[in-house]
Symmetry: C2
Subunit: 328 residues, 2 copies
DNA sequence: GTGAAAGCGCTAACAG
DNA sequence: CTGTTAGCGCTTTCAC
């Protein structure tokens, strides 16, 4: 708990001089510096970052708000984002908003109270106006938070197209896509619109089902998948997020369908679970390293009051797995 | 950027009074309070948390150091830990230390510089003495960091026993266990010692392989699994972490082994990937909610200088999946 | 080169 | 009940 004053006293100098060696600013006589460094060592001195923060008016902390850090896709983004931010000199504060709560508002409030220099919003539930009122750095990850708030998202439209075209090319005749609830609008919904559009364009039968919100609990996805099978036992192609797709894979296989002979399944995200299963899920992969890089770059630019691009789209691609028919 | 001074001036009162309504301490005349609240509203005032932190000498931030937040097991612990800490009034700062770097030391330094009130160490690489020198709150998650540093870990010994006994009961005769590198000692290594001990006790052949460190990249686990198959094509029981076990499942199945008829596989952790695969991995489940709860409770107690239990063991259990023979 | 002093925004003690 | 003041620990002019 030694303070800069203690060090100064111990070394027989003023606090200003200690501060100078601490920050390597201005001139300090070599032997004075030595004495100060010795004093710091002896007192086991560590500069108090809170005091520095107060003076500089920044904490070097960026907040990341997400539905659930345990979700494989968000976990991956968080990992890369933390890495990128770290390299830029920032620490990452995370906040899950799995259940309905006041967490989001509190998180935004922390930003306003200067606990964080900026935040990346990977989830949202308030009205656009609320975000636009906030003068501090905010970047949306897959969320459109207002006209002047940057948003980074995958090219979901292309993702939907790639999936639809692939299934159609395989000769599938009755497709099914499962989407999350549309309580809030996010760019990712575009993939389903595009998927449906293309199916209609090719005259392929398409059913779109909106699923209830369920906190990413895989067990409940399994129940949902069972219901889906009951209602749509004869579809021959399914498109959904990795998690839901995996659940459907289990449900349809359990009822005797052979994957991919009878049913092709394409996941969306490209998270770890598409690789660890014995039957690898064919999926549309979101470029998480790139997303994280852009998020970090944008939020840091905002913090430094540098100009930023408001809309950034990250490319996606289809990765072959074992749940679609091999291409000829 | 309005400060408490601006509010005071605007409301025609002293800063002390404003502070009083801010913190609901002491008496403030109703109409004075109204005037102040109106001023705060008008100026869009938000108290500066950095200044408060400096005064109170705490940030209400707890750090969580882990190998990789994208790893399904660590992600799960992080999720629960964040929830627990949030309920206790703390925010969670995460730090990955995937690659060799100075990150760990920097993280510890942040603790000493009062950027965080305490940290939970889910990874470590320094010598015990380094941690013991640090006077600030540190709790080890599956890491013994010193004689006076609390450590919360699963009952790994029991985990190893449950796995061994199950495989032996199935009549398996040649077991194989894959362990991580032993560059640092962690309680989790006990499961392998116990596994081996029990195999010997029952006279069952057991091979233990130490794997190289690979940053939890599943693709490299697959390569390793291939090598393992080459070297141990005739084992009939495998025990390893979920990730490695899943990779082995793929490798052995690919080479024609039928799971679980020919080979039984038991994973360790009980993470999401054991549920999402079409062939669910039988596994030893670590009680992540409970672990997180204990971690949060312990680190908070330390922050408040309350007494804590130095060693806490969390129970584990075996969860039936599809990669072991059904019990009679 | 270096010390003294002001101030970052807030809280709490102390007079009135 | 409320205004004034002295710090929290640090950085940064500004004289000496």
């Amino acid at each position: 708990m030694a303070s800069i004053k203690d060090v100064a006293k111990h070394a027989g100098v003023g606090v200003g001089t200690v501060s100078r060696v601490l920050n390597n600013t201005g001139y300090v006589a070599p032997d004075t510096r030595d004495r100060i460094e010795a004093a710091m060592m002896e007192l086991d001195y560590h500069p108090n970052e809170m005091a520095r923060n107060l003076f500089r008016n920044r904490t070097n902390i960026i907040g990341f708000l997400i539905p659930d850090i345990a979700h494989p896709f968000f976990g991956l983004v968080a990992r890369h984002l933390e890495m990128e931010l770290y390299d830029k000199g920032y620490k990452t504060l995370i906040c899950n908003i799995t259940q309905k709560s006041t967490r989001e508002r509190e998180f935004l409030d922390m930003l306003r109270r200067h606990m964080m220099d900026g935040i990346v919003m990977g989830a949202h539930s308030l009205d656009i106006e609320e975000y636009e009122k906030i003068p501090d750095p905010i970047v949306g990850f897959d969320r459109v938070l207002g006209n002047n708030i940057p948003c980074i998202a995958s090219d979901h439209k292309k993702g939907g197209r790639l999936a639809a075209e692939r299934l159609i090319k395989e000769g599938r005749k009755h497709l099914l896509q499962l989407a999350g609830t549309k309580t809030v609008t996010t760019p990712s919904l575009e993939r389903h619109q595009e998927f449906e559009r293309i199916c209609r364009e090719y005259g392929v039968k398409i059913d779109s089902v909106e699923m209830p919100w369920n906190d990413f609990d895989f067990k409940s996805y399994l129940y949902i998948a069972e219901d889906i099978y009951e209602e749509y036992p004869h579809v021959d192609g399914i498109f959904s997020t990795d998690m839901v797709a995996s659940a459907c894979l289990r449900a349809y296989a359990k009822h005797g369908a052979h994957i991919p002979t009878d049913v092709s399944i394409i996941g969306y995200d490209g998270s770890l679970i598409t690789e660890t299963a014995s039957l690898r899920l064919t999926c549309i992969v979101q470029n998480t390293p790139r997303i994280a890089q852009q998020l970090a770059e944008t939020v840091c630019a905002l913090v430094k009051k540098q100009p930023v691009t408001l809309h950034q789209q990250i490319d996606v691609y289809l990765r072959e797995g074992d749940t679609t028919l091999p291409q000829l």
